[in-house]
């Protein structure tokens, strides 16, 4: 039972990290109708900047403080230089151009930080464990990720629902021409949203640093999973992304933890492990295919 609790927490932790990535993706998709494969590069840049700063200053917080604006700046620069020209293009063109950007950023990071993976320690003030229920210690850092992710989700909800910026974001998603015709500089709004999305991606990257390896190409696998989240949740819906992210996080984590054991109940151990592992790694894609077969526009289809 304790094992299940631990795995559920792990699933939540993965879920909120996916949410941080998916939120930026879904906003950019919903408002600007842009497929940005290079979103994962911002996650990578966040992680590398943080790891680099931590190595010099030995302060996790300074790393975080450096990574967020750095990623936001890179994101906004890319938006202004290249992506802005792609908003009115077909998704295909966007996929291709941002694929090119991935190659560029991966190589750039390799030049700047070298080909070897960097390691980032868990900050010492979060290196302990917390006993959530007696007898079940859980790493404080992972718990902190869940808390931060939850707080960001709350902040985004407030931003989108209750601020003028949020209203404009939603209005722009349904009718961008009209927003412009009523006097709002939509290009600047787009750049801002892009910077926000980049910052969220970098936040995810920084928090991933101490858990996974900080290496070139780390953005792509997680990006694809974030896209799965966006599609499951419904393109353009932040709420959908949150639900989708938690769902994907839980399915993936629990699948990996328990499917092999489950299969051992009625299969030979060897076969069970192989089959269980295979199914576990495919589970989220099966989930997505099932959701789309049932609701072709995701769980929370956006208006319009």
């Amino acid at each position: 039972m304790l094992l299940v609790l631990e795995q559920v927490l792990n699933g939540l932790q993965l879920g909120v990290m996916l949410f941080l990535l998916a939120a930026g993706l879904t906003l950019v998709l919903g408002i600007m109708n842009l497929v940005n494969l290079a979103h994962g590069s911002l996650y990578m840049i966040g992680a590398f900047v943080a790891a680099g700063v931590v190595r010099v200053t030995d302060s996790f917080l300074l790393g975080l403080l450096a990574a967020l604006p750095a990623a936001a700046l890179v994101g906004m620069a890319v938006e202004v230089v290249a992506l802005r020209r792609l908003y009115t293009r077909q998704h295909l063109d966007q996929v291709l151009a941002t694929f090119g950007l991935i190659l560029f950023f991966n190589e750039l990071v390799r030049i700047l930080w070298g080909p070897r993976a960097l390691f980032m320690d868990v900050p010492h003030w979060l290196s302990d464990t917390v006993e959530i229920v007696p007898g079940a210690p859980y790493p404080a850092f992972r718990l902190a990720i869940i808390v931060v992710g939850g707080a960001v989700a709350g902040f985004l909800y407030w931003l989108v629902r209750h601020t003028r910026l949020g209203m404009l974001i939603r209005a722009g998603a349904s009718n961008r021409e009209m927003v412009g015709a009523l006097g709002v500089d939509i290009k600047r709004l787009y750049t801002l949203v892009f910077g926000l999305g980049a910052m969220l991606a970098a936040l995810a990257g920084v928090m991933a640093g101490p858990i996974y390896a900080v290496e070139v190409g780390m953005g792509e696998p997680v990006l694809i999973v974030a896209f799965v989240v966006v599609v499951i949740g419904g393109i353009g819906s932040v709420r959908g992304s949150l639900v989708g992210a938690l769902l994907v996080g839980l399915v993936d984590t629990l699948g990996r933890a328990f499917l092999p054991t489950l299969f051992r109940a009625f299969l030979a151990p060897d076969t069970a492990d192989g089959l269980g592992a295979a199914l576990a790694s495919m589970a989220i894609y099966v989930l997505m295919a099932a959701v789309l077969a049932w609701r072709p526009r995701g769980l929370f289809p956006a208006h319009g």
């Binding site: 209203m167 349904s174 009718n175 412009g180 015709a181 009523l182 006097g183």
Partner: protein, 235 residues
Amino acid sequence: MMLTVEGLETCYGESRILFGMALEVDAGEVVTLLGRNGMGKTTTVRSIMGLVRPRAGRIAFEGKEIAGLPSYKVAQAGLGLVPEGRQVFPNLTVRENLLATARAPDGRRVPRWTLEAVTRLFPALGERRDAYGDQLSGGEQQMLAIGRALMTNPKLLILDEATEGLAPLIRAEIWRVLEALKAEGQAILVIDKNLEALTRIADRHTIIEKGHVVWSGDSVALAADRDLQSRYLGV
């Protein structure tokens, strides 16, 4: 003149819609743009608002050239658009529709149009303030589109087919509102087909046929000329 349009030519791809369109609106004036469907009325409005780029011609607003400016700058100069087909934001509530793009003009602390002022003008909007744009009836959407444009506190209000497809009672309400706006000196450019109401409210009329002006004059002259009405307006 507040708005002066001269020699406007606009094309969509290869097909040319406007051929030297001209138009003037002075402060405090209500001017109409009349003509059958497909004659270029909406294109004229879209060109003025910067939603399409005219190929040639001048558009001056308060002496400043606005042709070729992005639409948000045109709007910020003081033009408030109530577009054809209403185009309220379906995923925003009535209140949010009004607030999202609201703007106070420079130098005035309390703008003429606030949430309160608009709901006083359209009480129906006050009652439905938390309903989403797509949950409104056609008439309510139309009022919302007008209210939304007023919330930008425009110097010139442009209405493109604001009574199309509405029940007579609601049309009457909209005409009443336009009359009230005119009475307080709001300049308005109206596109509509409802000649009777327009001859009552408007100062001057412009009839457009295939992208250029074929007639302009005041309400008395238009009301008197049945031949003009049937030739260009299909009445």
